[in-house]
Amino acid sequence: MVHAGLPTKGSGTGSAPSDHGGVGGYILAGLIIFGGLGAWLDRSLGLSFLTPLGLVLGAVLGSYLVYLRVFRTTVEPETHPRSGPGTGHEGESE
């Protein structure tokens, strides 16, 4: 089986919705964590540039996770002789 947290692009209807649910979620989580970290550091250290830095970093890391979780796994099944891109779900999607 495909070991993605989200279905791969080849899994029938999974393509667009996985972008919908996955992309927004990971990037939002990255923004919350690293933006929050930046804001907390800003307040405790008396600085002001760490919040935007954290937000950018969070967005970048969230996007990186989207790449790892959603897009990288689309390549993986092709290296398996057993399962092509369309057979992530036993070929029943179409």
Partner: protein, 262 residues
């Protein structure tokens, strides 16, 4: 000119108060329109699908056909295609209940005489999203074991080790907080905004057509009325689509929890 006419106190635009109708009786504050509508939706669903399967026939009646159409859409289109044919069957009842429940409640929005979407109260989507949160996490833990589940969620293979402290918190926050949050807000915001949109166009058209003497405004009111009708059909699409998206994302999350680690 129209700006003056509309702001001189004659027309009161709809506000957020519209989604908080007062309770029917002062003494029973919880008994209000959204509450009754949600209860009614359960009665409608049980009645409809109960009638649809009462006397199943090889050549289905129109009612049975409709019921089976909706069921097979959820079963195959959402359940099997997204979760995968190996594990999807035990989740179909849950997905089906979610989809139909949200669908009926959303369709209230454009039903004449009701025209109110209970999902515009964030409490309802929130509870649904919390149920989804519990379901996919419990499913994942039962399928893979507690340690394995969180290990699979938090540690992606094939990434240098020093990245884990940075990425793992994001993953954990995503599955525990962000997913149910976005699920609830997506449904709530769509229904709330749709309701407001319809109210603005309908009350605006009503005011300009009936209350105002100015012929230019009457013409504008006519146009507004046409837009209100167009928007009603657009909201029909939104109502169905949001129910579909909610069920689909739920299936996606369950699929991720079930299939991980295979």
């Amino acid at each position: 000119m129209s700006g003056h006419v509309l702001t001189d106190g004659g027309y009161t635009p709809p506000s957020t108060h519209e989604v908080f109708p007062p309770p029917f009786f002062e003494q029973v504050p919880w008994l209000d329109k959204p509450f009754l509508l949600v209860c009614l939706s359960v009665v409608i669903l049980v009645g409809f699908f109960g009638a649809a399967v009462r006397r199943p026939a090889m050549v289905p009646s129109r009612l049975q056909f409709t019921g089976e159409l909706i069921y097979s859409f959820v079963r195959n289109g959402i359940g099997r295609d997204v979760i995968g044919s190996a594990n999807y069957q035990r989740f179909v009842p849950f997905l089906f209940a979610l989809f139909t429940f949200i669908l009926v409640n959303n369709l209230y929005e454009i039903t004449p005489l009701i025209s109110f979407p209970p999902m515009s109260h964030i409490a309802f989507p929130m509870v649904l999203a919390l149920i989804v949160l519990v379901v996919y996490n419990v499913v994942g833990i039962r399928q893979q074991g507690f340690v394995n589940y969180f290990k699979n969620v938090m540690f992606i293979p094939g990434v240098p080790k020093f990245v884990y402290p940075i990425l793992s918190p994001i993953e954990l926050l995503t599955i525990l907080v962000v997913r149910p949050f976005t699920l609830a807000v997506r449904l709530f915001a769509n229904m709330f905004a749709g309701h407001m949109l319809l109210l603005v166009f309908m009350t605006g058209a009503e005011y300009m057509l009936i209350e105002v003497a100015n012929p230019a405004l009457k013409a504008a009111g006519l146009l507004t009325g046409v837009v209100a009708i167009v928007m009603t059909f657009f909201e029909l699409f939104v109502a169905v689509f949001q129910a579909y998206i909610f069920a689909l994302l739920t299936a996606l999350y369950i699929g991720g929890a079930v299939n991980e680690g295979h």
